[in-house]
């Protein structure tokens, strides 16, 4: 039981090595291996969550070497939240990919697709629980390479170009993260976040410059990977050109984990106390607001459905950063709630876009007229996703915006509530026409009820129900995110 956190990572790594070998067996479909593996990962994450709920957070030391010498793996509320999210959404995406990835990348590459997926899951789960800066760096790199590979695997020139763009910018980010780690190590002599947070006050008094530079490099480095406005330029190309399951993984999970890691570094390692000297939260709030407005305005001008969703992600990432950088309990919990809500919603929307493309070959939004006649269930899911993005009561998007608004009042910044409202209205301007066109538009030809295969429909419906569930019964998730927020704030 105590070895479980490391076992999840090792399990995924072993599966990643086994998949190409098992893929050589002619009659075996490695897609089922991916589903089984992720299901096992989800069960492990659930057992871990149960264990933490019973006994409270704990640290695991691989090889029994205690903290300053050994590596620390921290299992707390945040780890529980992120491992459950990673494995849960990962399972849904893989269920979809069993049928939904072959038509985009070809039969021969599915084995490699599943291999890359396992490596990505190892990196995501590793990032959720590592409490050691160098481990964070290594997992970040694995995550970067595999995320780029998930885009580049589609044999289209647009995808390779987008993936290379993503890779080059990500490498700049990784370089900055490593430089920041070296600057922190230089003044504190530790790589363990817990020990650094103990030394940081003294180090800041002696060498403020190192801390300033390191903090800036961390924010820019993780900001590139998390697509914080204005560092988001790689995101629309990469997320819209990738195969549908990859888009769902990238938008739903990969971007989120870097936000969480940045949050852990800023609030758990540097600590909120240091912000009295450096106005980091104010800068982040400013960028978040710009992202919220600019992302929505760009999304309005997009003709392609997936591209619109990608720009919408930029706006939604703005909400998450806004919540985290307001540094009040309610706002931070709201930001984390929005992260979960967006992970469920956006992965569902990308999968739905993939299902529409699979069934009809439609990519542009203005060709979606009357698609509700042909794919009523998928269109229902798109509708739920869209109203969750706008923030209409009954969906999880509403709960998170509600929490964010209260958090803004708590932080004595009522103007931000106005920004939230404007941004929601901007969301509505491009999601509502889509919905009305899909249900009430006049179809091009007579359409029959013809849903995609059940295995593709199932994950979309499950994610939709998850979204509605957290919209109507937010209490369980709320307890978890409030716990994370109270861990980050004194």
């Amino acid at each position: 039981m105590t070895h479980l956190p490391v076992l999840i990572i090792v399990f995924y790594l072993v599966l990643a090595f086994l998949t190409p070998l098992l893929g050589r067996i002619k009659r075996l479909n490695t897609g089922w291996l991916a589903i089984g593996g992720t299901l096992a990962g989800l069960i492990m994450a659930a057992v871990l969550a149960w264990h933490v709920a019973q006994n409270g957070p704990y640290s695991y030391f691989p090889g029994q070497w205690q903290a300053p010498i050994g590596i620390e793996v921290r299992v707390d509320a945040l780890t529980v939240l992120m491992t459950l999210l990673n494995n849960g959404v990962g399972l849904m995406v893989m269920l979809f990919a069993l049928r939904g990835v072959k038509n985009e990348i070809g039969e021969g590459l599915t084995v490699w697709y599943n291999t890359i997926f396992f490596l990505l899951m190892a990196a995501l789960n590793g990032l959720a629980m590592s409490f050691d800066l160098f481990n964070v760096f290594v997992f970040t790199e694995i995550g970067t390479i595999t995320a780029c590979a998930l885009v580049a695997i589609k044999p289209k020139r647009m995808c390779i170009r987008a993936a290379l763009h993503y890779l080059i910018l990500s490498t700049v980010g990784s370089g900055m993260i490593l430089l920041a780690i070296s600057l922190i190590y230089m003044v504190t002599g530790h790589l363990n976040m817990g020990f650094i947070s103990g030394e940081i006050a003294g180090a800041f008094a002696l060498y403020p410059l190192n801390i300033y530079v390191a903090m800036g490099l961390f924010i820019v480095g993780f900001g590139i990977k998390a697509a914080l406005f204005p560092l988001h330029i790689w995101l629309p190309d990469a997320h819209s050109s990738a195969p549908a399951p990859s888009s769902a993984l990238l938008s739903g999970l990969v971007v989120k984990i870097y936000i969480v890691v940045l949050g852990r570094l800023l609030f758990q390692m540097f600590g909120v106390g240091i912000f009295e000297n450096i106005p980091v939260p104010d800068v982040l709030i400013f960028l978040a607001i710009l992202g919220m407005l600019f992302g929505s305005i760009s999304a309005m001008n997009q003709l392609e459905f997936k591209r619109m969703l990608a720009y919408s992600s930029v706006a939604q990432i703005g909400y998450i950063f806004l919540g985290l950088s307001l540094t009040t309990h309610e706002a931070m919990a709201g930001g984390l709630f929005h992260m979960v809500s967006h992970a469920l919603t956006k992965s569902m929307l990308f999968l739905a876009a993939g299902a529409i493309y699979y069934k009809t070959g439609i990519k542009k939004t203005d060709e979606l007229n009357g698609i509700g006649y042909q794919l009523p269930l998928v269109t229902a899911a798109v509708t739920v996703g869209a109203i969750s993005m706008i923030g209409i009561p009954g969906t999880s998007g509403f709960v998170s915006k509600w929490m964010l608004a209260f958090g803004a009042f708590d932080a004595q910044r009522p103007l931000l509530v106005g920004v939230l409202l404007i941004s929601s209205l901007l969301n509505a301007t491009y999601y509502f026409p889509l919905i009305s066109r899909a249900w009430f538009g006049h179809p091009r030809s007579s359409l029959r009820w013809d849903e995609p295969p059940r295995l593709m429909l199932l994950p979309i419906i499950v994610l939709m129900i998850g979204n509605l569930w957290f919209g109507i019964f937010p209490q369980t998730l709320r307890i978890l995110v409030v716990q994370v927020a109270s861990m980050w704030l004194p």
Partner: protein
Amino acid sequence: MVNQLMTNLHYLVAMILFIIGFHTMLTHSNLIKKVIGMNIMETGIFLLFISIGYVRGGSAPIINDSIASYVNPLPSALILTGIVVGVSLTAFSLSMILKIYHYYGTVDSDEIMKIKDAEE
């Protein structure tokens, strides 16, 4: 001032390397040069990281009673991992550039953008 600079020359050199690499990576349109820039940038970071652990007059960290001070082995060990990561990034990006050349017939990002704009 000059004296201080001379004793910490390795930091300055590391930063110069970092900036050269960073600048090459962001300003050159040739993709291969971007990868070269990436490697120079990483070398700068590696140099900085390793020089943190260096102790003047220290010896290799193999315990021996006659030796008074040792060099900190941790940064070297970490950078070994960093180098491996850097190599895999280089290999991956070069293989993607190969694909780019296959699809576009050029490795110049400006020309690729022109082709892309012409498509749309």
